[in-house]
Structures are given as structure tokens and as C-alpha cells.
């Protein structure tokens, strides 16, 4: 009797071309799964993808929006690349971003109301950085002192941040001129970020992000603390042996990571919404999407530019899906999730191989 067996085995040598081709295949797989959903909805997926691609990457309208989405993605990803380099898995950029939004709102509507913009805007960025950083500091300290897994704590802190935003907009900060809607009042003009005319691109945030790309790159490659981060991330035992302070590394990477996400939050409320509102309106999952873009860029800040631009485009594509194709926007989340899942599993596929074996009778006996 012949039997078919499935066997998973370790691959020890991975050729370079496979390491490039496999992630691309992974993205194609995710695209084809979504295609099935399009089909079920009676939409021709090829036309739909062509439309999304065209709108997001080939029209000026699309590219403008694309850049709007790139800003928070790039800021969050820059921070994550620092944390991931230390092998610290911060998946709390979403919450850290919301804390930045809260900081900006507090400055704009309460603390510095009526001050000129050259005071208010820098203050918003600074406090946004601080709020995001402090939010990330809690998991960092828990990990440093009690070895609490940062994946869990940073994720949990996201929910706390979301609830905090909800509490503020339903409670003390609910607008007086908003017909009791759960949103704050609009930021005064001095607290609204300047835009590139004809777009929603709040250029001060874009500028910060673009300057930070080489800065973070050099920080990781050329500074003492960047070196400590690499050593700690690659071999924590060797880091201890070399006298590298674990708490210091954890705290620094999380402060940078959280702080940059906080700046992204400032940009969203002060540049686009001009008020604090529902968490899901402030951020369409930028903090989570940034995990994917960082990962795809192999933690290299320079490669973040193409990956965040690509995913910015996909988010714009999400708007196309919503508006032109009349599908729920949750399809976009589905798509993001699928991409991440297929990328992660493709990484495992790179290291393992699945084999189908036809096992003959003789073999069978020996293994039963």
C-alpha cells in the first residue's frame, strides 16, 4: 500500500534570488486572496487592481494622498526600525501615535490656546514626542526590570490609549460647538499645520520624517548607542559581557520608537483633522501597518521610503475600494493582515521546505 506523507524540513542554504522572489510572491498571494473577495462581490479583480494601482500611483491626485499616508507610516516605521534592531518588538506604535494626538490637542485647545503658531506648533511636536515616548517607556521598564514580554504590554497599551481618547472626547474634552458629537472643538488656526497648497500634505511633518531617514540610518550605523543597539539585538549575552547596559538600551529604543509615533499622531490631528476624534478616524492602523513596512525594509531606514510609499498607495487604494468599488473599508485591514501573514509565513518557507513523499509498503512498516 502506498501512502502520501507531508514532511517539513529545514533548509540550510537559501540562495539570494529566492530571498528576493519569495516576498514578492507573498504579496501576490495576498493580492490573489483579496481577488476572490472581489469576485464574490461581482467585481473583476484585474480591473479593480488596475484601477487601484492607477489611482494610487499614477495620478497626481493619488500620489498626493499617497504622501499624506506616507507621513505617519514613515515616522512610525523609523521608530520601529530602531526598536526592532534591538530585537524589541514594539507593536504599540498605534497607541503611541494616539498619545501624540492627545498631547497636540491639549496644547492646541487648552495649554497654549491663543499663542502664535511659531510657539504652538513646535510645542505640539515636542510634547507629542514626549507623550509617545512615555507611553512606550512603561513596557520598556517592565521588560527591563521584570522581563515582561513587550509584545503583550505594548499591544495592551494600545487599547488603553484608545480608551483614553474615547474618554476624553466623550467626557471632559467634548466640543462645545459640535452639537454634542464625540469630538473636540476645532484647533485654532495657529495650531493647524501648514499644508502644501492644493493637498493635505502637512509639510512640517513630512520634512521631519525625511530628515529623520538619514539621521536614523546614521544613528544605527555610526553612533555608539546605535552600535550598542545592534550588539544587544543580535546577542544579548555578548552585550552583557561587553558591559552594555540592558535597561539603557531598552529605554532608549522605546523612547525613540514611541516618540516618533507620537510625532506622527501630532501630524494627523494638527495637520488633517484639526481636532481629536474617534481613534479609528485619527489613524487607519498606521501603527500596525508600520510593522509591515519596517519588516519589508529589513529594518533599514533608507529602504523605508519605498516600502512606506507602496503601503501609502495601498491605503489610498483602500479609499478607492471604499468609494469607487463600494466595498467596506475593512477590506483594507483584511488586505494588510493578509500581507503580513503571508510575509511572515514566507519567511518560514524560506527556512523550511515542505515535501510530499510517496511512502512504499516497506517504509511504512518500519514507522508504524
Amino acid at each position: 500500500m502506498k501512502k502520501i506523507r507531508i514532511r517539513v524540513e529545514r533548509v540550510y542554504e537559501v540562495p539570494l534570488w529566492l530571498r528576493i522572489v519569495i516576498p514578492i510572491i507573498a504579496i501576490l498571494v495576498a493580492l490573489s486572496i483579496i481577488a476572490i473577495i472581489f469576485l464574490i462581490q461581482g467585481i473583476n479583480p484585474i480591473i479593480a487592481y488596475a484601477e487601484i494601482f492607477h489611482d494610487a500611483f499614477l495620478t497626481t491626485y493619488g500620489i498626493k494622498f499617497n504622501v499624506v499616508k506616507l507621513i505617519p507610516l514613515l515616522l512610525c516605521s523609523l521608530g520601529l526600525s530602531v526598536a526592532f534592531k534591538a530585537n524589541v518588538w514594539n507593536i504599540g506604535a498605534e497607541g503611541q501615535l494616539l498619545m501624540g494626538a492627545i498631547a497636540a490637542t491639549w496644547i492646541a485647545l487648552f495649554k497654549l490656546k491663543g499663542y502664535p503658531s511659531y510657539i504652538v506648533i513646535p510645542a505640539m511636536y515636542v510634547l507629542g514626542f514626549i507623550f509617545g515616548a512615555l507611553w512606550a517607556l512603561i513596557p520598556a521598564l517592565l521588560k527591563a526590570k521584570f522581563e515582561v514580554n513587550e509584545i503583550i504590554t505594548t499591544l495592551m497599551m494600545n487599547y488603553i490609549a484608545m480608551k483614553l481618547v474615547l474618554f476624553l472626547i466623550y467626557g471632559p474634552w467634548r466640543g462645545t460647538t459640535t452639537w454634542k458629537y464625540p469630538i473636540t472643538d476645532e484647533f485654532p488656526a495657529e495650531a493647524q499645520l501648514p499644508l502644501i497648497p492644493g493637498t493635505l500634505i502637512h509639510w512640517p511633518s513630512l520634512l521631519i520624517a525625511l530628515i529623520l531617514v538619514p539621521v536614523i540610518y546614521l544613528f544605527l550605523k555610526r553612533t555608539k548607542i546605535g552600535y550598542e543597539i545592534s550588539v544587544f539585538g543580535l546577542n544579548p549575552n555578548a552585550a552583557r559581557y561587553a558591559g552594555i547596559n540592558k535597561t539603557k538600551v531598552l529605554v532608549i529604543v522605546m523612547l525613540i520608537s514611541g516618540g516618533l509615533a507620537g510625532i506622527a499622531g501630532v501630524g494627523e490631528v494638527a495637520g488633517i483633522h484639526h481636532r481629536l476624534r474617534y481613534p479609528s478616524s485619527i489613524s487607519s492602523g498606521y501603527g500596525y501597518t508600520a510593522i509591515i513596512t519596517t519588516w519589508l525594509a529589513k529594518l533599514n531606514p533608507l529602504l523605508l521610503l519605498p516600502t512606506t510609499f507602496f503601503f501609502g498607495g495601498l491605503l489610498v487604494g483602500g479609499d478607492v475600494i471604499k468609494i469607487d468599488l463600494r466595498l467596506p473599508s475593512s477590506v483594507v485591514y483584511l488586505f494588510n493582515g493578509l500581507i503580513l501573514t503571508s510575509l511572515v509565513s514566507s519567511d518560514i518557507l524560506l527556512r523550511y521546505r515542505i515535501r510530499l513523499l510517496v511512502v512504499g509498503e516497506e517504509d511504512d512498516k518500519c514507522h508504524s
Partner: protein, 544 residues
């Protein structure tokens, strides 16, 4: 045998018809290239039924690569492999395991957080699905008694010493039913008695119809245990000789090539002898350890009230069977482990429990036992590994930035001075051979004239030439005036290099003797816990 329930070799029939001397493995014309190196070039190799066939060669000679190909980890670029006369194309170790081939790696791959039994259960696909562990514990007991490989099946792997891990790995292969066993430098982490146990086990195994490929670069071992010896040099096969017709001189010549002087090898080289004979002028106290107590990983008191001092220009040797508190003692001195009680002073400064950085800043060089785990970051380049302890200070860095131009100049200089070979200065160090890895560590630790050197098994796993090199460096450093604390289980090495010798047993010093009065046999007995204070009563710390 109970085990047969789970593990019936697919080749029981083939095996029963085999006679001593039949060829079980035949490798023909094996060539394997890695980026920048030819690890194996047209190598022919055969293993006969019931023999122990040694593979001998310097580090980087290609031994591991050759057996990795047989075990399916790598695929050969050229060449053919036959097992039991059948041509095979192994795509992974699982194919090899199915053919009854088992390999024990140089660095055993075990899961630290699981117990010994759980680790072994994991590798047995035919273990009962439900509650496999008690069954496996039984099996482990049975096998470890049978072959004298003692381990506690319930211990967690992270608590084990390197030697114990090695034993677990060997047991795992045996229990999986391997009949062709590959042991990649299995003795490097074993103490002399443990090694003898292993050799007994190997003999018992071949009696029972196993065939063994035994990799080593220790001549004495190879000559003592093997039937045939194949020597590799720089990826090529030099030849195969039977143990009877070979001698240490012949093997050294084969390993190193004709050009090397014969002084390299079993004894110390001439240069080293001269270094050693220079009368040592001991100076100031550099390291003082007073009544030190340290806890081990399992919470037991591993170091129990040890006191000693090391002075400028002397080598203080601590010898003992691994697992008698040496690791805990060293880690406490270099600040990686908290001392429970006692005082450690370096140049008069109390550094007890001040952490590793305080010790580094005192100008202490530390050669760790486990190079891969502590001494190196395998994914970083040579330069990045060379600055591991210096990156903080000028001229390696300013307040914020690393001084990359200075670093690469300095790195090239050290590579020349310490003869570190690499295809490319930016290759991650994980592609260097074992001897070169140790050179990277030595270069880093010795480059700025440390006043105290702590060398923990510095020649562990190194080949003849590299061992020679390390020992010579230590003697040079001593002559320069460094205080050296040398910890090793290799009695010959300790006697050869040290000025004073302490024997450590169960967390205490049995005795401290000057090298002049050291007697290998007596020290060996003390390592086993035999006391000599009450001369005639023959009181044993442990029964012999």
C-alpha cells in the same frame, strides 16, 4: 530491549547481513564550495561496518563540512554518496536519519527551556503522542546506564554544563536508532574521566554493530580510539592510515604539511620553552579574591569560600573537572554573576558586584569559555567584534559617533598582528573558522596590554597550531607583567603554563601547589576529590 518498540531501524535486515569490514558509507569525489572558500575538494572517504574512523585535521580543514554533507545539511557541488551500497541524495538531515545516520554537532542544538527528556522526546517522531516524556525518561535511563553517559532526564537543558549537553546530544542520536554515528569533536567539552566514559561508550557501540565517524584534532585521542584515520588539510584529503601504522609524528606531518617545524605539536614549541624558562619576577598583587561564595544557576552554592591572589607576572592556574564551580567563580570575578559573600579586589579596588563595565574599566581582559555565546556577535563584522570593549572610549569614538576610519585602520593592524584570516573584512565573523574566531577574541582582549587576564579554557576546541599560538601569547603576556588567571580542565596545559596551581572540587580549592612541586597524577586524583592532607587514610571526597 525496551527501545525496540519505538525504534526499529529500517535496515535491520541489511544490518544483520553485514560483516565487519563491509563498507557502509562511501563518499566519492566530494567537492563543496562556500563563498570565498573551497571547503572540500574531491574528497574520497569510506566508513566500514563496526569501525571507528577518525577524521583529523586543523580547524577549517573541512571536517565538519564533509560530515555535514553526509548528514544532508549541505548538498555537495560534486561527488557521489553511497550508504549501504545504495546511491543517496540527501536533501536534509531527515533523509539521513531515515537511513540510520546520526550526528552529534560540535555545538549541540538543544532547547534550553525544556528538560533533557523533553528535548529527546521532540526528536523522536515515533514516541507516543500522549504523555511521551515518562517513556522517554525510562529510555534515557536505560541508554545512559548501558553506555555510561550520565544525565538527569528531568534537568532543564539551560542548567547543564557543556559536557552534559554533549551527552544529551549523543543519547538523543542513539535513542533515535542511529547505526552510523558522526561525532563532531565530541571530546572538546569533556573532562578526562568523562572522555574516557565516552570512549568506553564508543567501544560498546561498535561492538553492537554501530560504525562511527569521530572528528577530532587531538592526536592522542585519535590514536587511542580509532581503527583508521583520515587526515584532511585545507579542504583536501591527505590520506587514510590505519591506527597501527601511524604515529604522532606522521599524523602531525600530514595535518600541517611538511613545511612546518616538528616542534609544533605535542609538547611546547622552542620559542614557548624559552619564554617559560625566563625566571618570573612576580610583582604586586593584582587580583585578590577573599572568601568568595557564589550561587549557581540551580540556586545551589557553587563556589564555597574560595580565596587566592594573582600577582603581576604570574600565571595562576585553576584546574578541575568542569562543573565544580569554575564557571561561577569566573563569572563573579568579571562581574557577570553576583557574589553571595566575600570580596574581589583588582589592584586594590573593591569590584565585588560592581558589574562587568567596572571590571572592563579596570583593564581586565577576559577570554570567555563559550566564545560563540559571550565572546562574539556572529552577525557582525570583524571590526565590529574587535571594538566590543573599546567602542566607548577615544580614539574609537567621540561623545556620540564611532570613529570609523580609526576603527578600520586599527582593525587591519590587529588582523595583521594576530594573523586573522578572512576573505573580506566585512564578512560576518560567523564565516570564520574556530581558530580565527579565537584570534579575534585574543586580539581584542590583549591589544592594549591588560594588567589582568582571565583566560577560561582558552584553548578549548582549538587545533594544535592554534593551541600552541594561544599558549605562547599567554606566556608573552605574563612576561610583559600581566597577572593571569588560567582556568582549564586540561591538566597538561595547566601544569605546562602555570606558576601556581589550585585544584577546584565541588566549589572549593582542594589545595594550591607551586608548579615545581606539581605531580600530574596527584593533581588528577585531587580533581576527583581525593585529599592528601591525612596522607595514609585515603579519604575520598567521592568514591573512585
Amino acid at each position: 530491549m525496551k527501545s525496540s518498540k519505538y525504534y526499529l531501524s529500517p535496515f535491520s535486515q541489511t544490518l544483520s547481513s553485514l560483516k565487519k569490514g563491509d563498507i557502509v558509507v562511501l563518499m566519492k569525489g566530494i567537492t563543496k564550495r562556500f563563498p570565498g572558500v573551497i571547503a572540500n575538494y574531491k574528497i574520497d572517504f569510506d566508513l566500514r561496518y563496526g569501525e571507528i574512523h577518525a577524521l583529523l585535521g586543523e580547524n577549517g580543514a573541512g571536517k565538519t563540512t564533509l560530515v555535514s554533507i553526509l548528514y544532508g545539511i549541505h548538498q555537495p557541488d560534486e561527488g557521489e554518496i553511497y550508504v549501504y551500497g545504495k546511491r543517496v541524495h540527501f536533501r536534509s538531515p531527515r533523509d539521513a536519519i531515515r537511513m540510520g545516520i546520526g550526528m552529534v554537532h560540535q555545538h549541540p542544538r538543544l532547547i534550553d527551556t525544556l528538560t533533557v527528556a523533553e528535548n529527546i522526546a521532540l526528536s523522536l517522531k515515533d514516541a507516543p503522542f500522549i504523555n511521551p516524556v515518562p517513556n522517554v525518561e525510562e529510555l534515557i535511563k536505560e541508554y545512559s546506564e548501558k553506555y555510561g553517559l550520565k544525565v538527569d532526564p528531568k534537568a532543564k537543558v539551560w542548567q547543564l554544563s557543556a559536557g552534559e549537553k554533549q551527552r544529551v546530544a549523543i543519547l538523543r542520536t542513539l535513542i533515535s536508532g542511529a547505526k552510523i554515528l558522526i561525532l563532531d569533536e565530541p571530546t572538546t567539552s569533556l573532562s578526562p574521566p568523562e572522555r574516557n566514559d565516552l570512549f568506553e561508550a564508543m567501544k560498546a557501540l561498535v561492538e553492537e554493530g554501530a560504525s562511527i565517524i569521530f572528528i577530532s584534532h587531538k592526536l592522542k585521542e585519535v590514536l587511542g580510539i580509532s581503527d583508521r584515520i583520515t587526515v584532511l588539510r585545507k579542504g583536501r584529503k591527505v590520506g587514510t592510515v590505519s591506527a597501527e601504522e601511524s604515529s604522532p609524528e606522521l599524523l602531525i606531518k600530514m595535518m600541517l604539511g611538511e613545511s612546518k617545524p616538528m616542534s609544533i605539536g605535542l609538547g611546547l614549541g622552542k620559542a614557548k620553552d624559552q619564554l617559560h624558562k625566563v625566571g618570573h619576577k612576580v610583582g604586586k598583587k593584582i587580583l585578590e579574591v577573599h572568601n568568595l561564595y557564589v550561587l549557581g544557576d540551580r540556586g545551589e552554592v557553587a563556589v564555597k569560600g574560595v580565596s587566592f591572589e594573582v600577582r603581576e607576572g604570574e600565571i595562576f592556574g585553576i584546574v578541575g573537572v568542569p562543573g565544580n564551580g569554575q564557571r561561577e567563580l569566573v563569572e563573579a570575578i568579571v562581574g557577570l554573576r553576583k557574589a553571595l559573600k566575600g570580596v574581589i579586589r583588582i589592584s586594590g579596588v573593591d569590584i565585588t558586584n560592581k558589574g562587568p563595565l567596572a571590571v572592563i574599566n579596570m583593564g581586565v581582559a577576559y577570554i570567555p569559555e563559550d566564545r560563540i555565546k559571550y565572546g562574539l556577535v556572529l552577525d557582525l563584522t570583524i571590526a565590529e567584534n574587535l571594538i566590543l570593549k573599546d567602542y566607548r572610549r577615544p580614539p574609537f569614538s567621540g561623545r556620540i559617533m564611532l570613529n570609523t576610519s580609526y576603527i578600520s585602520k586599527w582593525c587591519l593592524d590587529l588582523m595583521r598582528r594576530y594573523d586573522i584570516k578572512t576573505p573580506d573584512i566585512n564578512t560576518p565573523v560567523k564565516y570564520l573558522s574556530g581558530g580565527n574566531l579565537q584570534r579575534v577574541i585574543l586580539a581584542r582582549e590583549f591589544s592594549h596590554n591588560p594588567k589582568l587576564i582571565i583566560a577560561f579554557r582558552p584553548t578549548y576546541g582549538l587545533d594544535v597550531a592554534a593551541t600552541e599560538y594561544v599558549q605562547k601569547l599567554l606566556l608573552q603576556e605574563k612576561q610583559r607583567g600581566a597577572a593571569i588567571l588560567l582556568i582549564s580542565e586540561d591538566l597538561d596545559e595547566i601544569i605546562e603554563l602555570s606558576d601556581r596551581i589550585a585544584v577546584m572540587f565541588e566549589g572549593k580549592f582542594m589545595d594550591i601547589v607551586p608548579a615545581g612541586r606539581a605531580d600530574a597524577e596527584r593533581l588528577g586524583l585531587m580533581m576527583m576529590g581525593v585529599r592528601f592532607h591525612e596522607e595514609d587514610k585515603d579519604t575520598c571526597g567521592k568514591s573512585l
